[in-house]
Symmetry: C2
Subunit: 330 residues, 2 copies
Amino acid sequence: MKLATLRNGARDGSLYIVSKDLQTAVCVTSIAENLQWALEHWSAVEPQLQAHYTQLNNRALDDIIQFSHCPLESPLPRAYQWADGSAYVNHVELVRKARGAKMPDSFWSDPLMYQGGGDSFLGPKDNIPLLDPDWGLDFEAEVAVITSDVKLGVSTAAASQAILLITLVNDVSLRNLIPNELAKGFGFFHSKPSTAFSPVAVTPDELGNAWDGAKLHLPLYSYLNDALFGKPDAGTDMTFDFPRLIAHAAKTRTLTAGTIIGSGTVSNCDRTVGSSCIAEKRMLEKIATGEINTPFLQDGDKVKIEMLDNKGLSIFGAIEQRVVMQDETL
Amino acid sequence: MKLATLRNGARDGSLYIVSKDLQTAVCVTSIAENLQWALEHWSAVEPQLQAHYTQLNNRALDDIIQFSHCPLESPLPRAYQWADGSAYVNHVELVRKARGAKMPDSFWSDPLMYQGGGDSFLGPKDNIPLLDPDWGLDFEAEVAVITSDVKLGVSTAAASQAILLITLVNDVSLRNLIPNELAKGFGFFHSKPSTAFSPVAVTPDELGNAWDGAKLHLPLYSYLNDALFGKPDAGTDMTFDFPRLIAHAAKTRTLTAGTIIGSGTVSNCDRTVGSSCIAEKRMLEKIATGEINTPFLQDGDKVKIEMLDNKGLSIFGAIEQRVVMQDETL
């Protein structure tokens, strides 16, 4: 099943079911007004939503609309919890190496995770506001899961059952604000402005064999200004899988339905597949030649993030965002 | 006006108006089902809520209930954004001094703020679960404001207008998990389990001259096992006032209605007034004698946090929580 949220002027938008081929959609607000509500009542509404999905794919429904030009919110336009891991530890090691710092061995066994701001996400086609080019605007292509309620201290084994939906992420970052924030010791705040998610979130069964209950084994494609930037496989070199990340997040508190847990920048040890963020490419340049050549995002740049199934069809739709210089006083 | 949320089995509870003397309350779900909704429609509902408040105080309403034994949620049982500052910089300097570290001068001009988890707060009378005594459970008595929508890049002057409500906080912390999390550089996560707020949140006009539009000039009382632990004045030695903290939070992203911005542990340079958390007392002991005598919270300990007006009456009601050892697998 594929779910999307259409922009309707309300903060949570309207819930739609989207066809497998992403061509058509049908409003399901009569079942669940929005995705947050659906997630909170999942066992009750999921069978009805699945029935609509089957009918939509069979073209057995009236009131269907073309999905391609719909005004989109992220599937959850806002979330009570957005916690982002950094599960591809080779990426962390690389970034540290580039600045001459050794990574603690514990990073291979103790996940990194930061608390993100979830009150206002960007939509998958929304512009990314550029407030100050000196802040080093970057994209980060990631995979994320959306959970049910999760008990305090959940085991990794049980955490797998909490995964209701899977989505793609552009974890927009302001690289040049990070060093000061890390030095202050309180984690990211200014350096992580609003995040964007893919047009649809999908149930695990949509992914077939590519989803093993813990990792998503498909390449994640990132494009910068229509040129391929990277296609690392999200299932390769993922040191901590999603159940492990969920269990980590729930170590000292419960997680409630609609919690989004991100993978962190997808990255493979095989550097020939490219990168999922500009920062990694810059670090590779620095290590290779001592010189950084790729600039961070500038006014007018276009970012596209997408994942294709084994037939080459888009699973989640594409995050497609343009960077637009913005007056800070707006 | 004083607002409370009663536990009703739903995630957002039911909105009630509470009388000035905290004795009676009336359900106002016919105006706004819950506080989050009220905050999102504040200009429309605030006059109606104020009218009910006036009638309640004049005992001119039917259907009033006694407030003292109501099952309470925090005013916002969950929030899309909970961002906590550390505005009493003398406290930060003290903690650093105790471990022999010099605090960067920039901390006096650039606020510290962390992104908290907001998906499930504790109620003001809820037990604090103790999972592992070695984690160093602590309370932190703070003041917080709840905002309207706030524009990206808002000025400090304009940010003052965004303050709709004021509340007290117990920012529950796990002190012994902090050093490892700070070393990892991604900020607090495990070390900040669910936070609790006072029984009522109040509009600024409730505070009279004690509220100057930016700071709350009254002592904040903390008790540990019925003994006074500290009564620092929240308006004294607050390096960054609330408008400044809001402007800081909105530097790179918008804030949406229902955002909670905390002050951080209230602390005065005059140490004779005591402390608002155990960690500060331990650091004072260490500096004075080289020996730490006060343990962190143990099973059965009671914490109370309250603020009184100039007549000695409770403004927000008391946060009163008991620490209860909990099986981690619950």
